[in-house]
């Protein structure tokens, strides 16, 4: 069967496109990196892909709030294209700034639908500063096709605006109830979700690190799976014996997506 094709979209200020494309390739997909302008010129070409990725970075400088300008461009030009893309059973992944874009468009958490509006926010970390550190997460529901077979996973996170807020606490409880809160920061010792810094780097209520849409085919997460695709990416690889190096768990997300589309 034909190779799974992943599109990695970039906008001015996107800066994780190359390693994200590499991760798709390592997972067995073919990957192309496109400037947003190219997709705007020919939106129909999105149909030749099965995976759309919004990678990390600082799109448009995040000058008006993380992901907001990119989201406005999508609202203006690509809403219908995206809805059709998702309706056809395809996958969407947003990492870090990409997650922020998905939330600012409204694609997350409520899914692709006409006239979508944001109902959640990824806002300033409680620390009010950008921070880079590895985080431990648990997979809290089996809803996301990207997270099949994963229980616990560590990845590097690097962001200044990652605190996931809904307008009301009830809305967050609703997302939990619908199993859409799929990744939570945990205390590495107890494995329990945490709101405590620094295990939870941004202060997200209930430790929300990643959410999916109602179909489970759109995933957004703050940490960076594409930065953990080799044992050498692990922060403590030099402590492991040569013959028992850490498994590069970030790669699993990409592999899961590819096998979902192949089956």
């Amino acid at each position: 069967m034909a190779a799974v094709k992943a599109l990695v979209l970039r906008a001015p200020g996107t800066n994780c496109d190359q390693e994200t494309a590499r991760a798709w390739q390592m997972a067995g997909a073919s990957a192309e990196i496109w400037h947003l302008n190219r997709l705007l010129e020919s939106p129909a070409e999105l149909d030749s892909f099965q995976i759309l990725t919004f990678p990390g970075g600082f799109s448009y400088g995040d000058d008006l709030g993380a992901g907001r300008v990119w989201a406005a461009r999508i609202h203006q030009h690509l809403s219908e294209t995206l809805c059709r893309f998702v309706d056809r059973g395809n996958l969407v992944l947003g990492i870090c700034n990409g997650f922020q874009v998905l939330v600012a468009t409204g694609l997350l958490p409520q899914g692709a639908r006409p006239g979508m509006k944001p109902t959640a926010s990824l806002t300033y970390n409680n620390s009010r500063q950008f921070e880079a550190r590895w985080v431990d997460m648990k997979v809290s529901s089996s809803k996301s096709v990207f997270l099949k077979g994963i229980e616990r996973i560590a990845m590097p996170s690097a962001h200044g605006e990652g605190r996931f807020l809904t307008a009301t606490a009830d809305e967050l409880a609703g997302l939990v109830h619908e199993n859409q809160v799929v990744l939570q920061y945990v205390n590495p010792l107890t494995g329990d979700p945490t709101e405590t810094y620094p295990d939870n780097p941004n202060g997200s209520p209930m430790g929300v690190a990643g959410v999916c849409d109602p179909t489970g085919r759109i995933l957004g997460l703050m940490p960076h799976p594409e930065r953990f695709v080799s044992p050498l990416h692990h922060p403590r690889w030099s402590r492991f014996p040569k013959n028992a190096q850490p498994s590069p768990d970030g790669l699993k997300l990409f592999q899961n997506a590819v096998s979902f589309l192949k089956n």
């Binding site: 800066n15 400088g61 930065r227």
Partner: protein, 966 residues
């Protein structure tokens, strides 16, 4: 119509920020109590009505889930929601007219693209403050506003328009230097901020006498930029008379000379291009450049550091045909953060504000560019108070065969990237003079504001254009702007520039301002005419502006035109070779060293804890974590390592291309306490530190490339210059002995501050940056202790000299002798250590640097969360060094602590038979006696130190943990 759109958080999520501001106010010595409430907002010049603006705000300007907008016409009375009470003082802060405002530009662009009618947008912060009125102006100045680039408007806002300036009417300006007296020449140079010496002015005068005309302002500015210390390095490349020896060209006869003599076949391009280039593997070369941005950072720490890193990133981008930046390194020198706020000289910012500002500046630019900041350092010394140093470095990777460039007759001169504004006029000449307490006022034009996203967009275009062969040469617009970029590229040929074609940020710039503006994010290319259309199309597709400014022509002249009028016409020969040689005198002032007297009843444990808490040693985690150090997914030894990822790595290791296993190691060496006493040894210590850091993580000592960065006081003082020469000689000698070529360098002289007639100089500061290479990244070694039961050994010889050590800076009043580097022993040590690492014999390795052995062991224990029982008895040392205090805290160079598995000890012993090695002790595992404790016994077997790893960690982390509570 001008609107103020204030963005108000819906809940109390901002309370952290406001609390933070209050703490900062108290730290700056402004007695409270303060209640400071900050909001962000936009000032929008637009024909939109209030309702349309409200819709636009929801659409894109704010986060509708957590924020709402308060929209008021500017000048209208405050609404009740805005003015809290009569005792609340309102202060608005916005960028000065003409200052680049990236978020304002982004808002303007997106509003226009969404179809709204908007003329201009500027960002603004609004403060509502309750507190003692008398201190309000101080609070505003010291904390809320950066007067170099921002203005504070107290009370109600009143703005008529956001247009920065009026129209420019062309008038050719000539400077009547013919017939001027010497005094008039000096005055012309000073008042024009040209930083040209009398001798230089005289040569210019003579040149134009010969031409029978006066220079235009553009010509004089071009000469001043090209001849500036910043651009031409006239001191280092000048002649020096010193102790009976005369150098014709100091740099050429010391640092260059070593590189030339070495003739290393892996060196590609040295001291010629924007960065030095060496071979990496079959596919790629790598390049490295470190720059300083000291003077601008003293005035505006955020903007100065921001454009510092932005500028050095453009160096690899402008090297060869353009390298892709893959890593950044940043080193800051500032005064201790505890400096009493009320003792600051006028015009000087508090060191804590400086440090926070430069960290934020580097963070915001480096992170946005998507370049990992993998390594760095901060050094504290009171003499950096008025002259903080900001070193920024970038490593780039470039396909082999693309490291050379050429310019052909007829090639278009093409500017790519940001528009030209009044930013940074006189940056090059400004960095070549001493700061005074008025600098803040007179030089604010020299401060630029960066926009990282523009630079990222330029990079995206360049990498594609390079691979498609759309240009023949490239350089960045740094100091001097177009004048230096075009002047350099066309030096061997000639160039004709039509200044009116440069795209401007706003109207009103004169032809000279266009020519010398240091607006950021601009690159200049030489484009063959038949490639221009393709380049133009590519740039357009990425939303990047590319403009033809003129042509390179085979005239040997630099010809400037403005709407057809010739406004400058200089011979390239005069411009580049006409500068009179600088000749300076160096004279030593010997500093007498005093042999330290050691206490008869020292408390070594207390001293260790005090050293761990010394800012120069304390954990820099607060800074490191603000930098993205893993973007590009190539950082395999991170800046913080160990069980809890909190121990300081000696060097970062990058794995730039997964096609092979080769890696790069990045490290720095800096010795700030030794230069006044013995500059030669100071330089040797810095080189040793940079090299040993690379070797410690597994780099091959036969493939290490070095950079020098000299930051000095006024070189016209003979004693300053003497120290400079000594340091340069040390660079020559060690580079040659170790076959570690210098591939690039930079200098920033005149780091002095004039106050009340007294000139205060920084310590002689030489930053050595090292770029090492690993054959296989899997062989990299980290510094955290790994396994209980393993043995801990030391390699290296300890000298008695305590000078320059952190211990001496803390406990000695008189200068002590500086330790020397034994070049032969060091080279043997580097090689044998590398062999041991390649053979897999070393489980962990850490160099001994600030704080000596005791601090090194403490850091390794913290990294491994593991105890160690050690003794000093077997340390190889000189007879005079056989003193517990020296063995614990001395900073003799070329020493490493290594961890070895018990069954590898024999092999290592054989391999290192000829080296000075000593066994220190054994790692203690959980459950054993002494687990989680560092225990060190002295020469007489008594316990000198017995302290838990928890205490070590807390003591070391606390001083610079400036993260806000959350």
């Amino acid at each position: 119509m001008i609107w103020h759109l204030e963005i108000v958080p819906k809940n109390t999520s901002q309370s952290t920020l406001n609390r933070h501001r209050q703490t900062e106010a108290e730290e700056l010595g402004l007695p409270g109590p303060w209640a400071i409430h900050e909001t962000r907002g936009l000032v929008i010049e637009s024909d939109m009505g209030q309702a349309e603006l409200a819709r636009a705000a929801l659409e894109v300007l704010l986060d509708p889930v957590v924020e709402s907008a308060v929209i008021t016409p500017v000048g209208a009375a405050e609404t009740s929601s805005q003015a809290k009470s009569d005792t609340t003082h309102l202060i608005h802060v916005l960028p000065k007219p003409g200052v680049t405002d990236p978020p304002g530009d982004t808002a303007l662009n997106v509003l226009q693209s969404l179809g709204h009618k908007v003329e201009r947008v500027r960002t603004m912060r609004t403060y509502r403050i309750e507190g003692p009125v008398a201190f309000l102006p101080d609070l505003t100045r010291r904390l809320l506003v950066n007067e170099a680039v921002e203005m504070a408007v107290p009370g109600r806002l009143s703005i008529n328009h956001l247009q920065p300036s009026g129209q420019y009417r062309f008038k050719l300006i000539e400077i009547p230097i013919r017939g001027m007296t010497d005094a008039e020449l000096v005055k012309t140079s000073r008042e024009g901020q040209l930083s040209l010496s009398l001798a230089e002015m005289q040569v210019i005068q003579k040149h134009f006498d010969g031409l029978g005309r006066n220079p235009t302002d553009a010509e004089l500015e071009t000469i001043a930029q090209t001849w500036s210390e910043h651009c031409s390095h006239k001191t280092l490349k000048g002649s020096v008379e010193r102790r009976g020896r005369s150098y014709r060209n100091l740099l050429k006869e010391t640092i260059f000379a070593a590189t030339s003599k070495l003739e290393a076949d892996w060196v590609v391009s040295v001291f010629a291009d924007n960065a030095g280039v060496v071979t990496f593997d079959d596919e790629f070369d790598v390049c490295f450049k470190v720059e300083t941005h000291n003077h601008p950072s003293a005035i505006d720490p955020y903007g100065g550091a921001n454009t510092g890193i932005g500028g050095v990133i453009r160096d690899p981008m402008g090297t060869g045909l353009g390298a892709k930046p893959i890593a950044n390194t940043d080193i800051f020198c500032v005064a201790p953060p505890g400096f009493p706020a009320d003792c600051l000289p006028p015009g000087v910012l508090h060191p804590k504000r400086v440090l926070k500002g430069v960290v934020s500046g580097v963070r915001d630019y480096g992170n946005r560019m998507g370049i990992p900041t993998v390594n760095g350092a901060v050094a504290f010394h009171p003499d950096y108070l008025a002259n903080p140093l900001v070193f920024c470095g970038t490593i780039g990777i470039i396909p082999r065969g693309m490291s050379q460039k050429s310019v052909n007759d007829g090639d278009y001169i093409v500017a790519v990237g940001g528009r030209t504004g009044r930013d940074g006029i006189h940056g090059a000449t400004f960095s070549s003079i001493e700061l005074t307490s008025e600098s803040e006022v007179v030089s604010s034009g020299a401060v630029q504001i960066g926009n990282a996203i523009t630079e990222k967009m330029v990079l995206d275009v360049l990498m594609q254009a390079r691979d498609r062969g759309l240009y023949r040469a490239i350089t960045d617009c740094g100091a001097g702007g177009f004048s230096s970029a075009v002047g350099e590229m066309g030096a061997d040929l000639g160039a004709e520039v039509d200044l009116e074609s440069a795209p401007l940020k706003y109207d009103g710039l004169s032809y000279t301002e266009i020519w010398i503006s240091e607006a950021q994010e601009r690159m200049v290319l030489a484009v063959p005419p038949d490639k221009w259309k393709d380049l133009q199309h590519l740039a357009e597709s990425e939303g990047v502006e590319a403009t033809v400014l003129g042509r390179f022509v085979d005239t040997g002249r630099l010809t400037l035109k403005y709407h057809g009028h010739v406004v400058g016409d200089l011979s390239m020969e005069f411009l580049h070779d006409g500068r009179p040689r600088v000749s300076r005198r160096a004279e030593s002032t010997s500093v007498k060293t005093v042999e330290p007297v050691f206490s008869s009843s020292p408390n070594h444990q207390e001293e260790l804890l005090e050293l761990l808490a010394n800012e120069n040693i304390a954990s820099k985690e607060w800074i490191i974590r603000q930098y993205d150090h893993e973007v590009q997914a190539g950082t395999v030894v991170k800046p913080l390592v160990g069980v809890n990822a909190d121990a300081p790595s000696d060097a970062a290791v990058i794995w730039p291309s997964t096609a092979t296993n080769r890696g790069l190691a990045v490290a720095n060496g800096l010795q700030i306490h030794a230069g006044v006493v013995d500059s030669y040894r100071m330089a040797a210590l810095a080189i040793d530190e940079a090299v040993r850091n690379c070797v410690a993580v597994g780099a091959d000592p036969s493939r290490i490339a070095l950079l020098d960065n000299f930051c000095w006081g006024n070189p016209e003082r003979p004693e300053n210059l003497d120290r400079l020469v000594e340091a340069a000689e040390a660079c020559h000698d060690l580079s040659l002995a170790w076959e570690t070529p210098f591939i690039s360098g930079k200098d920033s002289l005149y780091n002095e501050f004039l106050h009340d007639g007294q000139s205060r100089s920084i310590p002689p500061t030489l930053l050595i940056s090292a770029l090492g290479q690993l054959e296989d990244v899997h062989q990299a070694v980290t510094m955290d202790f790994k396994q209980a039961g393993n043995e801990v050994w030391l390699v290296g010889f300890t000298q008695a000299a305590m000078g320059g050590s952190t211990w001496a800076s803390q406990y000695l009043n008189d200068p002590a002798e500086i330790p020397s580097v034994d070049a032969d022993l060091a080279l043997a040590t580097f090689r044998k250590l590398h062999e041991a690492i390649k053979a897999g014999l070393i489980r962990s390795c850490h160099d001994i640097s600030e704080g000596g052995l005791a601090v090194t062991l403490a850091e390794m224990c913290i990294g491994g969360r593991m105890g160690l029982a050690a003794t000093l008895r077997d340390m190889p040392c000189s007879d005079k060094a056989a003193v517990d205090t020296i063995l614990l805290f001395g900073e003799s160079p070329t020493r490493f602590v290594v961890e070895v598995e018990p069954d590898a000890v024999g092999k290592l012993g054989d391999l290192w038979a000829d080296l000075p090695v000593g066994r220190l002790g054994t790692l203690v595992g959980p459950g054993e006696a002494g687990a989680d404790r560092l225990v060190i016994k002295g020469l007489d077997h008594s316990v000198l130190i017995d302290v838990s790893v928890d205490v070590l960690e807390n003591t070391w982390k606390k001083p610079l943990d400036w993260a806000p509570e959350c």
